[in-house]
Structures are given as structure tokens and as C-alpha cells.
């Protein structure tokens, strides 16, 4: 009897017994094959192609293309843009999520809609909005460039500093901040809403000030979600093309980011250079994905 039971158990462990939750073998293998085939075709193959094209003329050509001064400048500008946009959105995102998750106020749903706006609007349109606002003929640019400016001292200062927004770095940063705004806020809002306010209330009844409550209770509770949001925001900040393309003006060595640089090289039939630059972007994306996986793994381990 006992041997019969144990053999049944072994059969079950080995997967020989038909289970209610298990489909036939051919179904399982077909579905798995379809999923893997799709992944290979649409994700893996392009990635391989990028590196394949980049190294087509050999390693020497690859590094020569990378050391091109315009390319180096584009990389630096991309990193600079991300280095400004991500911290800015970190602050804005936490502030917006805090307001929305912890308080009730009139216009809250309008604010949520506004946060989603950059996702809903085409990035090219986002770029155009900034040209419209800050360009020489734009609403705000017009005030600064006009014969009779509203704020003469500001106009004088801006001319003196030769400060430009559109077709310059500030415009690229602004457009990137705009496009990547929702990532952190969207990540934090549902998290903070599920956590509720009780821990904050508890901290306050124990005599903690607002800052102490934020640094010691709120922030530690959202740190994993926040980190995840930062990673996604960073990935988009480095990869953004449409909005940046409109405001940048494609001035080589001045206002070209990596994605724009890739496009220019490609249009000039410099395939090795284009794919070498693309491979850098792909590497940045891979690093981001590895970081994201590490975050998820660490998070899961803590909550196991």
C-alpha cells in the first residue's frame, strides 16, 4: 500500500499524472514556441543586428566611429540631459504623487489627467509645444525678443548671456523633462495609495515633524517603487527622439543627442558609425534593464 502511494507521489512529482491545471504537451510546447519565436524576432534579432552592423568592418572601425568627436559630444549631451531630467522628475514626481495619494482637493482628477498628458500626446507635438512657447516667434520668446519687451531687464540679461532655449541645450532638457514626467509619478501614485496614511498619522501622533515623517516614514516605504520609476525615467530620457528632435535643431557637436546622432549618420549612409552609436544606446538600455531586474529581485527577496 505504502509503496503504491509513494509511486503515485513520484509520478505526480515527475509530472506523469494528468493535472487539472496542466494542458496537453503539444499545447504547452506550441505556446512556448510562439512566445519565444516572437521575442526572438522582435527583440533579440534587432539587438543582434545592431551589434552585427556596428562590428561589420571590424573592431577597429567600431572604436574609430565611437571616438568621433561629434559622437562623443552627443553621448555627453545625452548623459547631461538625463542627469538633469531624472533628478527634476524625481522631485516633481514625489511631490505630485504625495499630493494625489495623501490628500483630497478639488481639481485632483484634473491633475492626474495632466500628469498623463505627456504619455497621451505624441512626442513630436510635445516638442512643437516648446518651440511654440519659447521659440523666437513663440509666446514667451516674443516677449523677450520684442521691440518693447514686457521685462526689459530680463531681456537685457538674456541677450547678454546669449541664453537660448530652442535649438539649444535648455530646450532639449525641457522637452525631455516634459516627456519623462509621468514615469516616476505614475509609479508612486498607486503604491502610495495602497499604503494609505496611517503610518504618517502614527509618526505625527508620536511627535514627528513633517520633514521627519517624510524622510523617516514616507520615503523608506516608497524607495523601491521610486527606484524603479527612476530607472524607467532614465531609460526614456536617454532614448527620447521625437520631442528632442523638434527642439534641438540638429546642430552637430552642439545640440545632437545620441538618438539624433544615430539618425544623422544613418541618413548619411555611415552605417558603421550609426550602428556603433546605436550600440551605445542599446548598452545603456541593457544596463538599465539589468538594474531594473536587480531592483525587482532585491525587492522580492525583502518581501519573501
Amino acid at each position: 500500500m505504502s509503496s503504491a502511494v509513494s509511486s503515485l507521489q513520484r509520478a505526480a512529482e515527475a509530472g506523469h499524472r494528468p493535472l487539472a491545471t496542466r494542458d496537453a504537451a503539444w499545447v504547452r510546447y506550441t505556446l512556448t514556441a510562439i512566445a519565444l519565436g516572437f521575442l526572438a524576432l522582435f527583440l533579440l534579432l534587432p539587438l543582434v543586428a545592431v551589434f552585427g552592423e556596428a562590428f561589420r568592418r571590424g573592431v577597429g572601425a567600431y572604436f574609430a566611429a565611437l571616438s568621433d568627436p561629434d559622437g562623443m559630444h552627443a553621448l555627453k549631451l545625452t548623459l547631461l540631459t538625463a542627469a538633469i531630467a531624472v533628478p527634476a522628475n524625481l522631485v516633481f514626481g514625489i511631490a505630485a504623487a504625495w499630493c494625489i495619494a495623501k490628500f483630497n482637493f478639488p481639481g485632483k482628477s484634473l491633475l492626474i489627467t495632466l500628469i498623463d498628458l505627456p504619455f497621451a500626446v505624441s512626442p513630436v507635438i510635445s516638442g512643437l509645444i516648446f518651440v511654440l512657447l519659447f521659440g523666437a516667434q513663440g509666446w514667451l520668446g516674443h516677449y523677450l525678443d520684442a521691440e518693447n519687451p514686457a521685462l526689459p531687464w530680463l531681456q537685457a540679461w538674456i541677450i547678454e548671456q546669449d541664453f537660448k532655449i530652442i535649438f539649444a541645450v535648455p530646450g532639449i532638457v525641457l522637452a525631455t523633462v516634459f516627456v519623462t514626467f509621468p514615469f516616476i509619478a505614475r509609479e508612486l501614485i498607486p503604491l502610495m495609495q495602497t499604503q494609505g496614511n496611517d503610518e504618517e498619522y502614527a509618526a505625527i501622533t508620536l511627535g514627528a515633524s513633517g520633514w521627519q515623517t517624510f524622510w523617516r516614514v514616507t520615503l523608506p516605504n516608497i524607495k523601491w517603487g521610486l527606484f524603479y520609476g527612476v530607472i524607467l525615467c532614465n531609460a526614456r530620457a536617454m532614448g527620447e527622439f521625437g520631442a528632442v528632435s523638434v527642439v534641438s535643431g540638429h546642430i552637430r557637436g552642439v545640440t545632437n543627442t545620441l538618438p539624433l546622432h544615430v539618425e544623422i549618420l544613418y541618413n548619411e549612409y555611415q552605417f558603421v558609425g550609426a550602428f556603433a552609436a546605436a550600440s551605445i544606446l542599446a548598452l545603456l538600455a541593457l544596463v538599465t534593464l539589468v538594474l531594473k531586474t536587480l531592483v525587482e529581485w532585491a525587492h522580492a527577496r525583502r518581501h519573501a
Binding site: D198, A203, I204, T205, G207, A208, R216, H303
Partner: protein, 362 residues
């Protein structure tokens, strides 16, 4: 530290959570705010804590003669235990308990060693001396509850406020913890208010029970007072099972449309017709498992159901089975005039209940 709340009104939009409520809590007492959900008990507790504020121009809160109406929660010196404990999930038990001590302004803050010693002392007090390094997620419900209590007590509050302290615990833990809290509160003597919707808990634990309904206080009294002399139909219906009759008028002169209440344990069952107050009934069900026997009866004349509770000895004597005919007499009846039932009315003088002893000739 006595607590006085005067004329507190609180509205959320069109909804009135508290309607001109006043409450006195004498120093050192353990007081229960008892009521169904939506009665305003939690809102009152949060207003006393300073987590909510009463409507502008309404009311006043005094702690030991000091007006604290406009004090924020952190300045009131209250310890608050939340319904789901609200322990800081990223801190250990010891860090949780120490929190209130470590956020004090630098000039008032104790040394690290003094704080650690105080935490150890509190861990011993809540009988969890070994668990200082655990995280809240590694504790059982009852342990979390006690940690939340220790955290609230660490800053030596003048007032302890507990929101549904046993609501999330299973029956056995709840019972043990109730007894422990009762003992504990007596020992440290801190004025304590707790919110509950469980009448048994309120009656067993509190020095004084505040029964709330519909944004108002229905009755304040010792557990015995509110149970034996309920001030309104709501109170008698909320505090335990009760039989409610609109009939019996023909037997009680002048009773008219009044409503009569009889507790199941005040119902006695007889096999034989015995005196003119006995009512003919038919036995519907007999439940004999438990500390006492419960019998469901149907009145022969009106068809009303009557629930009775008898000791198991008495039940065995009667040897009732479903379908039997029997007679019941009521040892104790409470009567409320029909007027006492208007929806939001608290019982006033002219609706004060009459006590009718069924044994006496009426």
C-alpha cells in the same frame, strides 16, 4: 488626565459624522466608545487625538483643564493605536518603539543608551523581550497589536486612544489581549478611550461605556447601567440579543402601541399553563450546544418568534423537542413608548422606560 469634549460637530461634505456631541472622561478611566459603523465613534476618537478637527466654530477639547482644541496631534501628548496598527514596516520592532523618542527635538532627546533601555523595558512590559530585532511582517496579529501599544506608550502619553484595538484578531487572542489590556491599563493608570463595535468587549473591558448612534451619544454609563437600564430602544437592541414585541398590549393596560423588550435570558419556559401571564408557544428549534441552551419559539396567538436562553440543567428538565407546545413567562420586560423610535431621537424624560415585573399583578 481628564478629557472633556464639548459640543463637537463634524461634517464631511453633506454627511454629518458628529452632531453636537459632548463627553466627559474622568482621569484614569478606561472608556469604550461603542456603536455600529458610521455612528461617529472613530471620528470622535480622531478629533480627541488631533488627527481630525471639528468643524470651525464648533466645540472645544480640554485635557486636564487645558484647551487643546487647536493643538495638532503631535502637541497633544496622546498615544494612538491604529486599527491596523500602522507599524513602520521598514523598521524593526525596537526601532518602531523607539521612534517617538528619536524624533524629539535635540535638546529634549534622551541619549541612545537611555532610549535603548526604555525600549527594552517596554518590550518586557508587552512580554516580547526577545523580538526587538524582528520586522512587523514577522509578527502575529496579537504581537503587532502589543508593539503598537508599546510604541504609543514610549513617549509617556497622558491619554491613550485605541481604534478598534481587537478588531483584526481571532477570538482566542482577542480574549487574552483584552484581559491583558485591562490589567495593564489599571497598572499604569493612563486615561484610555477605545473604540469598538463589539458590545461584549465594551461591557467586559470598560469602566464606562459610551453608546453612540447616528452621530450622537445615546447613553453614557457603567456597563451594568447601560445593560440593565438602557436609555433608548437603540441601546437595548445594540447591547446583546433581545426579543422585540409590538403586541402584548392587551395584557398591559395603557401600553397601546408601545414596544416591549425581553432579553432571551429573562424568558422562562413552562410545560404547564401557569398563571394568566403565561403565553402559549410552540417549540421550533432547540440548540443545546454551548454554555446554555437556546430555544426558538413561536407564539401561538401572533406568530412572533421568541428566543429563549435556559441553563442546560433547566433545558434537560424540560426535555423539549421541536413541535412541542409550551408556555413562556417573562421575568423582566422593558417598555418604550412608540415615540421613542423616531429615527435620530435620543430618549428624553417622557420616554424613560418602564420596568415591568411580570411576576406582579398588572
Amino acid at each position: 488626565m481628564s478629557i472633556i469634549a464639548r459640543n463637537i460637530t463634524k461634517t464631511f461634505g453633506a454627511y454629518t459624522a458628529l452632531n453636537d456631541v459632548s463627553l466627559d472622561v474622568p482621569a484614569g478611566k478606561l472608556v469604550a466608545l461603542l456603536g455600529p459603523s458610521g455612528s461617529g465613534k472613530t471620528t470622535l476618537l480622531r478629533i480627541i487625538a488631533g488627527l481630525e478637527f471639528a468643524d470651525a466654530q464648533s466645540g472645544r477639547i480640554d485635557f486636564h483643564g487645558t484647551d487643546v482644541t487647536d493643538f495638532p496631534a503631535g502637541k497633544r501628548g496622546v498615544g494612538f493605536v491604529f486599527q491596523h496598527y500602522a507599524l513602520f514596516r521598514h523598521m524593526t520592532v525596537a526601532q518602531n518603539i523607539a521612534f517617538g523618542l528619536t524624533v524629539q527635538p535635540r535638546r529634549l532627546r534622551q541619549t541612545k543608551e537611555a532610549i535603548a533601555a526604555r525600549v527594552q523595558e517596554l518590550l518586557k512590559l508587552i512580554q516580547l523581550p526577545e523580538l526587538g530585532n524582528r520586522y512587523p511582517s514577522q509578527l502575529s496579529g496579537g504581537q503587532r497589536q502589543r508593539v503598537a501599544l508599546a510604541r504609543a506608550l514610549a513617549v509617556q502619553p497622558k491619554v491613550l486612544l485605541l481604534d478598534e484595538p481587537f478588531g483584526a484578531l481571532d477570538a482566542q487572542v482577542r480574549k487574552d489581549l483584552r484581559r491583558w489590556l485591562r490589567h495593564f491599563q489599571r497598572e499604569i493608570g493612563v486615561t484610555t478611550i477605545f473604540v469598538t463595535h463589539d458590545q461584549e468587549e465594551a461591557l467586559e473591558l470598560a469602566d464606562e461605556v459610551v453608546v453612540m448612534n447616528n452621530a450622537k451619544i445615546e447613553q453614557v454609563g457603567t456597563p451594568q447601567e447601560v445593560y440593565d437600564r438602557p436609555a433608548s430602544p437603540f441601546v437595548i437592541e445594540f447591547l446583546g440579543n433581545v426579543n422585540r414585541f409590538a403586541g402584548l398590549g392587551h395584557r398591559l393596560p395603557g401600553a397601546g402601541q408601545d414596544v416591549l423588550y425581553v432579553r432571551p435570558h429573562d424568558v422562562d419556559i413552562l410545560r404547564e399553563y401557569h398563571g394568566k401571564h403565561a403565553i402559549r408557544v410552540q417549540v421550533q428549534h432547540v440548540f443545546s450546544a454551548g454554555n446554555y441552551g437556546r430555544i426558538a419559539l413561536v407564539r401561538a396567538d401572533t406568530g412572533d418568534t421568541i428566543d429563549a436562553e435556559l441553563s442546560r440543567v433547566r433545558l434537560a428538565e424540560l426535555n423539549l423537542v421541536a413541535g412541542d407546545e409550551a408556555f413562556v413567562v417573562f421575568r423582566h420586560i422593558r417598555l418604550f413608548p412608540a415615540g421613542a423610535f423616531s429615527e435620530r431621537d435620543v430618549a428624553t424624560d417622557d420616554t424613560s422606560p418602564a420596568v415591568v415585573d411580570a411576576g406582579r399583578d398588572i
